[in-house]
Amino acid sequence: MSGVSTELETLLGTRWKKPPLIKLSWLRWLLILGGAVYLVLAIASVEVNWSRVYEGLDRGGAFIMSFTRPDFLSRGGDIWNGLVESVVITVAASVVGILISIPIGLGAARNIAPLPVYLVCRAIVAVSRALQEIIVAILLVAIFGFGPLAGFLTLSFATIGFLSKLLAEDIEAMDRVQAEAIRATGARWTQWINYGVQPQVMPRLIGLSMYRLDINFRESAILGLVGAGGIGATLNTAFDRYEFDTAAAILLVIIGIVMALEYLSGVIRARVR
C-alpha cells in the first residue's frame, strides 16, 4: 500500500456528490418535473375564497376557545340519547360482524378452504372493503328507512370485510407444523380447526376485534350525518346552528371514549398474548 494509487489520484480534487436515488437521469428529471407541474396545477385549481376564510378565522378561534368551556348540559338530553345509540350500534354491529367474519375468514384462507369457497369468501371481503361505510349507509338508509338498523347493518358489513381479511391472512401465515400434528392424530375437520388452528390465531383475533370495536365507534359518529342513527345527527345539528360549545362537548366525549377503548384494548391484548 505504499505510494498513492492511480485510482486515488484521479479522485483527489474531484467534487463528490451523493449518488441519486433514481439512477436514470431522464427518469429522475421527468418525475421531478412531473411532480412540480402537478403540484402547480393542483394548487392553482383549488379555489379559495380568502375573504371567507378570513371571516372564518374568528369563528375558528371561537371554536377552539369553546374547547375550554364545553357545554355538556344545554343539549344534554340529545347528546346522551345520541351517545347511547352510537354505543348500541357499535356493540351490536361488532358482535354480529365478528361472528360472521369468523366463518368467512376461515373460508378466505387458501390453506384450509377449498377453492370455490375461497373465491366466494374473497369476493365478499373485496366488496365489503371497497365500499366505504358512509356510502353503504346511504344505500341502506334508502332501503331500510332512517334509524339505527341501517347503521347497525352498515357497520356489521364493514366489520366483516376488515376482520375476515386480516383473519384469513393470519391463518395463511400460521405455523403449518402445529396444524399438521393435530391432523395426524386423525382429527375431523372441526376438531382440526378447534385444536390446530384456533389456538394459533385466537390472540390476534381478539386483538383485531378490539381494534375493530374502536373503529366501529368512531365510524358510528358519522352515520348520523346520513340518517343512520347515532351521535352524528346531534353533532351535525350543533354545527349547523354554530353551537360550538355543544359541538366541542360532543367531540370531547368521542375523544374520551376512543382513548378509553384504546387503553382497554391495550390491556386486553397484553393479557391474551
Binding site: 494509487s5 485510482e7 486515488l8 483527489l12 480534487g13 463528490w16 451523493k18
Partner: protein, 262 residues
C-alpha cells in the same frame, strides 16, 4: 494527555459501574482495556466522551476538563476523540462516503451537512482514508451492502477523519471472525502509530490484545485490577481479573497463526 481522576458512574438502577477509576494515558500510547463482561469497560469509554454522563470525578483531555464542559464546548471536544464501535454503528442506509464524511459533522455547519456539501479538503481526506483502509472502490455503496470487516474499516475511517488526538475503541473485533479481527486490530494500531494517536481499546480477546498493544489495564467490577505491560499478564493476574481458569492456552502468543494471516 488523557487523565481520568476518580471517575465514578452509578446508574439509576443503583449499579455502580465505575468505582473511582484513575488512569493516565500519554500521547501516542495504545492501551488495551480487558476484563469480564459487566466490568464497566464500555461505561468507562463512554464516560470519556460523555455519551454516558459520569456521576463523579473528572476527565481531562490535555488541559481541558471534559466533565465540566457545556454542551457546545463538549461537541467541539468530541471532535478530538474518534470512536469505533462493536457493531460498527454505521448508518446503514447511507453510503460509505457519507458515513466517512459524517466524521466531519462537528466541523461543518448544519446546512452544508444537510446538502452534503462538504469542503473539498474533507472530501479529499475521505478519499485518502478510504484508500488507506482499502475501500476506495466501495465509496458509493450503501453501508448495509458491506461485510463485517469492511464495515469496521469504514468505522475506522469515520473516526480518523475527525482528525482526533485520541481513539476510543469499543470491542472492535467482537463481531468479526479471527482472521478479520487480527487485520482490524493491526490496522488500528498501525494507524495510531502513523498518526501518533493515543487509543483505549476495549477487548475481550486477551491474546489479541497482547499481540498489538504496549499497555494493558484490567478492569474488574468497576475497579482497576491490573495495569502494566502485556508481558506481565501472568495466569495469576488473569485469575485476579476474571476468576479461576486454566490460562496457559490463552496467553501463549501464537506466532504461527500470526504468520498464516499475514
Amino acid at each position: 494527555m488523557l487523565r481520568l481522576d476518580k471517575l465514578v458512574k452509578t446508574y439509576r438502577t443503583g449499579d455502580q459501574a465505575l468505582k473511582s477509576v484513575e488512569i493516565e494515558v500519554p500521547i501516542g500510547q495504545v492501551v488495551a482495556l480487558i476484563g469480564p463482561s459487566g466490568a464497566g469497560k464500555s461505561t468507562l469509554i463512554r464516560c470519556i466522551n460523555r455519551l454516558v454522563e459520569p456521576s463523579g470525578g473528572k476527565v481531562w483531555l490535555d488541559d481541558v476538563e471534559l466533565t465540566a464542559l457545556s454542551s457546545g464546548a463538549l461537541r467541539r471536544a468530541r471532535r478530538r476523540m474518534g470512536m469505533i464501535f462493536q457493531e460498527y454503528a454505521l448508518v446503514e442506509r447511507l453510503t460509505v462516503m457519507e458515513n466517512v464524511l459524517s466524521g466531519r459533522l462537528g466541523y461543518v455547519g448544519f446546512w452544508r451537512s444537510l446538502l452534503r456539501r462538504f469542503p473539498q479538503k474533507d472530501v479529499d481526506e475521505a478519499f485518502r482514508l478510504l484508500d488507506r483502509v482499502g475501500l476506495l472502490a466501495m465509496a458509493d455503496k450503501r453501508a448495509d451492502e458491506l461485510s463485517g470487516g469492511q464495515r469496521q474499516r469504514v468505522g475506522i475511517a469515520r473516526a480518523l477523519i475527525q482528525n482526533p488526538a485520541l481513539l476510543l475503541v469499543d470491542e472492535p473485533t467482537a463481531s468479526l471472525d479471527p482472521k478479520t479481527s487480527r487485520q482490524i486490530m493491526r490496522l488500528i494500531c498501525e494507524l495510531c502509530a502513523e498518526r501518533g494517536l493515543a487509543a483505549i481499546i476495549n477487548i475481550h480477546d486477551v491474546a489479541l490484545a497482547q499481540m498489538f498493544v504496549q499497555r494493558v489495564i484490567g478492569l474488574k467490577a468497576g475497579e482497576i485490577a491490573f495495569d502494566g505491560p502485556p508481558d506481565a499478564l501472568t495466569p495469576e493476574v488473569l485469575t485476579r481479573i476474571y476468576g479461576e481458569e486454566d490460562w496457559q492456552a490463552t496467553i501463549k502468543t501464537d506466532e504461527t497463526a500470526e504468520e498464516a494471516v499475514a
